[in-house]
Structures are given as C-alpha cells and as structure tokens.
Amino acid sequence: MLLRHTPKEITERSALTINPAKTCQPIGAMYAALGIHGCLPHSHGSQGCCAYHRSALTRHYKEPVMAATSSFTEGSSVFGGQANLVQAIDNIFTIYEPEVIAVHTTCLSETIGDDIPQITRKAEADGKIPEGKYVIHVNTPSYVGTHVTGFANMTKAMVDYFAKSTGQKIDQINIIPGYVEPSDMEEIKRIAEMMGVRVVMFPDTSKVLNRPQTGKYEMFPEGGVTVEALKTTGDSLATIGLGRLASGPAAQALDTKCNVPCEILDLPIGFKATDRFVDTLRKTLGITVPDSLNNERGQLLDIVTDMHQYFYGKKVALAGDPDHLIALTEFLVSIDMWPIHIVTGTSGKKFEPRIREITKDSPYPINVKAPGDMFLLHQWIKNEPVDLLMGNTYMKYIARDEDVPLIRMGFPILDRIGHSYFPIVGYRGGMRLLEKILDAILDRQDRDAPEESFELVM
C-alpha cells in the first residue's frame, strides 16, 4: 500500500500540509497568460519556479509550454531584480518577438520588494519595449492564496492593462471562463455561438494548449484572446464571470473601470449551473434558446433518466478547486449521488456554507474543509468509505489504497489524456461526466459481482 502512513485517527495539525490539494499562485498566472494571443509569460524569480510551472503544465497538457524567467541569482536577491527584468524584457522582445510579456512575481521577488511597474517604466524609458508591444504584470506571492488566486489575478490584470471604455457600446459580451481546460473554454464559446452571441472570452487557452500535430513547433500558437479584443471589453454590453474565485475579480474590475455590468455565475457543470448560464445569456441579450441547445439538454436528461438507479445513493469524495467543487457537488446531488467528503486547498469564506446548503438534504454527515489537504480527505474516507473519487491525478494513491474507482478531473492530470480535448462544462460536458461516472461504477460492479449475479444487460 502506497499510503500506509495514513492513520485513521484524525489529529489536529496546525503547522503542516500533507499531500496538498493546491499549488502556488504563479502557475495559475502563467496558465492564464498563455490564454493571451502572442503572449510570453515571464516568471520574475529563480529559474526553478519557471521550470516547475512549465513542467507541470507540460505534463498536464502534453504541449510545449513557453515561459521565460528572470533567472535570479544570489546577487539579484540582495540588490533587487531590476537589472534582470530589464535585460529579460530586452532579450525577449529581441529574440522571441511576442506581442505581450505577462510578468508574474514569485515569493522571492515579492519579499525583496521589487516594484514591477517601476521596472517596466524603466525598461520603457530605456527603449526596450518596441512600439505596439506590451508588458503587463501581476503580483503573485506564493505564500498568499493558491493557483486559483494566481489565475484570477492575472485575468484581472488583463482588464487593468487593456480594457478601455470609448463610450460607444459594442454588441458583444465578455465571458471569463474560469480556471478550466481549453476544451471547456471552447465549449463555452460554442454554446454562446449557438445562441448567436458575439463573445470576447478571456483568457482563452483553446488552440494554445490543445493544439493538433502540425509538424511544426510554434512558439506562439494561433489561439488566445488578442490584445485588440481585450481592449474592446470595456465597451461590451455585459460580462459573465464563471466561477466566483477565478473570474470574480476580473469581472468586477471591468464593472468598476468601464461600467460594464457583470453577472458572476457558477461554472456551468451539470443541469442547473448550465441552465443558469444559458438563461443569463438569454436574458442579457433578449434572445431565445435554440432548439439545438435544448436538444443537448434533453439528451443529458435522457441519460439520467435511463440510468438513474445506478447513480442513486452512491457516496463520493471530491478534491479540487472551489469553483469546480461547488458546481460539481450540485450536479451530483441533482442526480441522487452523495458527495460526503469535500476538500479544497483554496480558502474562501463562501465555500463551506455553499456546500452545506447544496448538500443539506444528505442522509450522511458532510465533511468539508477549505483549506484542507488530501491526507485529511484520505483519513475521512477511512472513517466513512465512498463508492467513487473525483479529483486530480494525486487521488490515485487513495484510489489504490482504498480500492475505489477514480474519475480524473481538475489540475493536474499527469497520467491520462482527454481533459484538454473533451469538456466537462455545458450539457455535452455533463454527458461526458455521466459517461465517466457510469463507466467507473458499472465496471466496478462487473468486476466485483459474484458469478451468479454477473449481468449482461445493465
């Protein structure tokens, strides 16, 4: 057993995280920045941070992930990283020729107190930033928040740096998709298109991190929101932010800066949350929902109708990011499953009450913790076993130890493919989730059934 060092008895831990259900801010900022077209993310800190983030994203997406680093040395951490960053900006624009450099900080550069805007101004004054090119920045100390915070902050930086209000409204809406997969971003755009809505989505990592095999290595793939499009977000009719933690700050910043009204919704995972998303689009623009989309909803419903007795009463343990967990918990409850252990590494005041509200009719006591870690989740499972696990690849230790099937979702997924190509959002994403859940539960039932009750038709 891999995790034999996990005792059933839970004792208070005050200074220690074991097997985290989170990682640090900068990687979220890097991921968001990759969703700007022609952008090179830049890590202002030691080389290791950048190497780790690139490796983690590469393992998850199986795509080249480009980012530069200020390559801090002992000298820069004493005298500050200004010289490194100015030189980096110069080198990057000379050699790699991006449209945008998106700088995020690290715990190192934050603590020594580097002032990025001041350094950027210096680079500009020195003529290191070519005409029509941009350097944007965000502060992402690793000891505050998590990867979700980093994503939210970089997304907000896109508003801070680019959004403008010309006073002339454009017939389009902004959608901030949340910290989701490129496939999910694609699906959200597809739904909006089906409804005939013109959308500026930011960030947008589709066609960046789910690229086809082309025989070519492209440093800046065709996807990503363009700077031009970002500039117009201040003139959009409205903003829909999906996922309170990941998208809330940018949506609110647009409201404050450019008076673009915003609606912050849950990630559209499952019936109810997707309904709310579709309905918000409908109401905002005064349009009707096309039959094609209603048809997809009907298909999702049909699967649940056909198979509802297999979902009934199954207990689930979840780990992931708050925005995902809220929508997912709601979806599971709506198909008569019972998420009973829910953990996220990201703290947020609204998370626990929301989960308790969604699960209030549960016949089981609900364990929920934010921030918590996977060690605690495992201990809960040892005390009250479950039928299914949903979470990232690190859950496979628990799955093996407790012999419970695992459905991979969230970040990182290091050992399977599919997440970057097939969505879990929208009605069709819901269908995919149901297929995965049924496969996991029914495969297990087939495996465990004694000969005399092994069934062909299910």
Binding site: L2, R4, H5, Y52, P64, L85, I89, Q213, Y217, M219
Partner: protein
C-alpha cells in the same frame, strides 16, 4: 525570431569540425531566456527524495512541495515515506513574523506521528530571504527527538541545480559515519548517483552480487538511512551521473580515505567497463573476481547481442539528438546510439562542465552540434535542420519533439523502462525502435511526403518482423 541563437549564447554552441573547439559553459542563464534549467532546491530534492525511510519536509510556500511530490518515479523495495508530500505551507504572516515556530511544530508533530529514521528539512528561496534559522530548529528537534534532523541548504536562487546537488551531498555526509561497520565485507561498494528509476539499481546490484561484491548503501535510489550511516564502511565508491553525487564521493575520500571510480551503467561498453573497473580494484583481495566478471559480461552479451541484431538492422543510419541534464549521461548515450548504428547529430546538456564538453567533442562525429544550456527555439531549429528521427530529453523537451513529428525517448525522471545494465540496452533499443519506427510518423504532415516513397514503406513493413 530571425536570429535563433542569442548573440550572447554563440560561444555556448559549437559545430564540430567548423572551428577549433572552444566552449563556454557553467554560465548563469541569460535573463529572459526560456531556459530548460531548474534551481538549487530542485537539485537537492531530486537527489535526496529517493531515500525512502526518511521524512522529507519542505520548509516554504506550497509550490515547492507540490511540484516535487513523487515526480521522479524512484522505486522502493520497502518503505514509501518519500512518496508523501510534507510542507510547512508558509503563509504571509509566517513571512512577516518568521517561520521557525511553524517549522518546529511541523517537525515535532510529524516525527512523533510517523517515527522516521531521519528527517531532511529543505530550505527554499523565501526561507533564505526571511532568515529563518533552519539549522537551529533542526538541532533543537534532533536533541529532543533523538533522530538525525538535517537541514538542506537549498535556497533556490543560490545557484543552479548543481549547487543543489552539493547541498544534498553535504546533508547526506552528516549521516555517513554514524553507523556500525564491523560486519562489512572488504569487497564492498556504495552505489552513488543511481536513483532506481524503473528499478535500475536492482539490476546493477544483482551484477555486483554475482561478482561477489557487497553493496553497502544505495545512494540514493531505494535508499535507507541506516545504510547511509554505514556507508563509510565500504571499500569503494562508485559514482554515476556526473553532477549529482560526486561531491559526496570527494568528501568521503577526504574524510574516510575511500577511493571512488566514475562509472556508467548505461550502454554495453560503459556497463562492462564499469564492472571491469570494480573487478580490477578488488583483484588483489579476490584473484578470481576478474574471471567471474568476464564470465558475467560474456553471459549477458551472448544473450543480448542476438536480440539486439534485429533492432540494429532496422535502426541503422537513423539520426538522434540528445539534450539531457548532466553531460555524463550524454557520453553513454552517444556510445549507445553508435552501437545501434545510429548517428548523433546534436548533443547538449543543462549543466555540463568544460571537461565534459571536451570529452563530448572527442567522441562525436564531425558536424555534430554541441550545446550548453539550450532553449526550445534553438533546440527545435536544430532538430529541423538535422532532420533527426529521435530526440532524447526530459519532460519539457518531449512535446517539442512530438510537435515536429520526431520520435522521443525520456532519459530523465519519466523513463518507465530500465535503461541501465545489459538488459537496459535491449530496453533502450526497443524504446528507440518503438518511437523511431512508429507508424504515427507516416501520418504527420512533415514526414508524409517521404513516407510515400517505396523504401520507407519497406522499413515500415520490416517493423512488423520484430516481436516485442
């Protein structure tokens, strides 16, 4: 992107035969480069993490622990404590008021709970900046709990990966010399610089067993604290992997007069050479050891060569590119490709020294590109220019090769097949074959034009002839 090589990097790239050999290396990476290099912490963490029964506590924000959570695939035949991720998860208040108290509590709670043989406490960038007295806390806990609690000075910014290797070696050296050595055979070695990826150290240990040589400590693959404590009782240190553990061997030589040999278990030539070197070292103590070793090599080769033949036939003339962490690995790879009848068009490393590059220059063919601390743009342009069939590298290089439609072999943390030993050569040949000859390349845009030619179809046909 007209000028792929940074002007300042010109002297870190060399084309053999075009100019007299001169290579700059051991330079700090250029700010703004998309470097493939990592940090000090990374170096320490990868070296120490395979010690399976030690507690590994990362003192820092969560990222450093999260990104190094069981990523190396270092296998254990027993304890698996190393596969957990333990972190003090520093928050803003800790950065302001100091993290020593938190570290103390985390350490004592953990040691009470899991009762490890020793604890390694890793320093990170932030700890170096806020000035926590890591060694003070470690000393205190060591006194209270009665196990070795060892600080690892691995602040990320204090150099590159090699500095991290050194910090790891200094940490391990604190354990060496603290265990009993009375019952250790005079024919004994420590294996340094093998991390038991895919079970490789088990292959090598079995060879030594057959030679009659005892292994005292695995450093660090499938490693144990108690073995490290007795490591000074070994007669000889065998050091593989140029950067990572050579410093420990040097310290043990100075302090305990234990000589060391640099070896490589990768590739037929280097594997056999390494065993002969060990036999030669012990020949006065055991006059028959050389005969036994020769017999071992003979047996292994007579089994290997017939199996290798088919692969060599299929792979003859194919072109390879190599970009690895340490240059020592590159030497063995160059030779291994030669054994397969392939040519090496590009070879480079993240952390090679001047000596390393000189040796690479000597063993490669004219026209080969030699490169230090490269970046994706450079690498991809060289791969295209040389039109290679396979690229050997690590996690960040793999998708670059695949996007270009080039085969790939991970010779780093993510290898899944044992590549060491004689059997490792066969595994390597299979892996190279499976990727170079994969039918997938027939569908990729870049190769489509070529694969329609008849001789290429023959090659694809030939593939079916070799059973895995």
């Amino acid at each position: 992107m007209t000028n792929t090589i940074f002007a300042e990097r010109k002297d870190q790239v060399h084309r053999k035969g075009e100019e007299p050999f001169q290579m700059a290396c051991d330079k700090e990476s250029l700010a703004g480069a998309v470097s493939q290099r990592a940090c000090v912490f990374c170096g320490s963490r990868v070296v120490l993490y395979p010690i399976t029964d030690a507690l590994h506590l990362v003192h820092g924000p969560i990222g450093c622990a999260a990104y190094t959570w069981d990523i190396r695939g270092a296998l254990s035949s027993g304890p698996e404590l190393h596969r957990h991720s333990y972190s003090t998860d520093l928050q803003e208040s800790d950065v302001i008021f100091g993290g020593e108290d938190k570290l103390y509590r985390a350490l004592t709670q953990l040691i009470e709970r899991i009762n490890p043989k020793a604890a390694f406490v890793y320093s990170t960038c932030i700890v170096g900046i806020i000035g926590d007295d890591l060694s003070g806390v470690c000393k205190k806990v060591e006194r209270e709990k009665g196990i070795p609690v060892i600080p690892v000075e691995s602040e990320g910014f204090k150099g590159n990966k090699r500095a991290g290797y050194n910090a790891a070696c200094r940490a391990m050296f604190q354990l060496v010399g603290t265990g009993p050595i009375d019952d250790i055979s005079p024919l004994s070695v420590n294996i340094l610089g093998d991390f038991n990826l895919a079970g490789e150290i088990w292959i090598v240990r079995e060879y030594f067993e057959r030679m009659g040589v005892k292994v005292v400590a695995n450093i660090t693959g499938d490693g144990r604290v108690d073995d490290l404590r007795r490591a000074h009782g070994a007669a000889l240190n065998l050091v593989q992997c140029s950067g990572s553990t050579i410093d420990l061997a040097k310290m043990m030589k100075d302090e305990y007069k234990i000589p060391f040999l640099r070896v490589s278990y990768f590739g037929v030539e280097d594997m056999a050479d390494s065993l002969y070197k060990v036999a030669d070292f012990f020949k006065d103590l055991d006059p028959e050891i050389m005969e036994r070793t020769k017999a071992l090599v003979r047996d292994e080769l007579s089994e290997l060569y017939p199996k290798l033949k088919e692969y060599r036939k299929a792979l003859k003339g194919k072109k390879a590119a190599i970009y690895v962490g340490g240059a020592f690995k590159a030497f063995s790879l160059v030779k291994a490709f030669r054994l397969l009848g392939m040519t090496v068009e590009l070879v480079g490393s993240q952390t090679g020294t001047e000596e390393d590059y000189k040796e690479l220059h000597e063993i490669t063919d004219p026209g080969t590109i030699i490169v230090d601390d490269s970046n994706p743009l450079e690498l991809s342009s060289f791969l295209e220019e040389k039109d290679v069939d396979i690229f050997v590298g690590g996690v960040k290089e793999r998708p670059i090769a695949y996007k270009l439609g080039v085969g790939f072999c991970d010779h780093n943390h993510e290898r899944k097949e044992a590549l060491e030993g004689f059997v490792g050569m066969l595994n390597f040949a299979k892996e190279v074959y499976s990727t170079v000859m994969s039918p997938v390349w027939r569908f990729t845009p870049r190769k489509q034009a070529i694969s329609s030619k008849p001789q290429e179809m023959d090659v694809c046909h030939e593939r079916k002839a070799i059973k895995n």
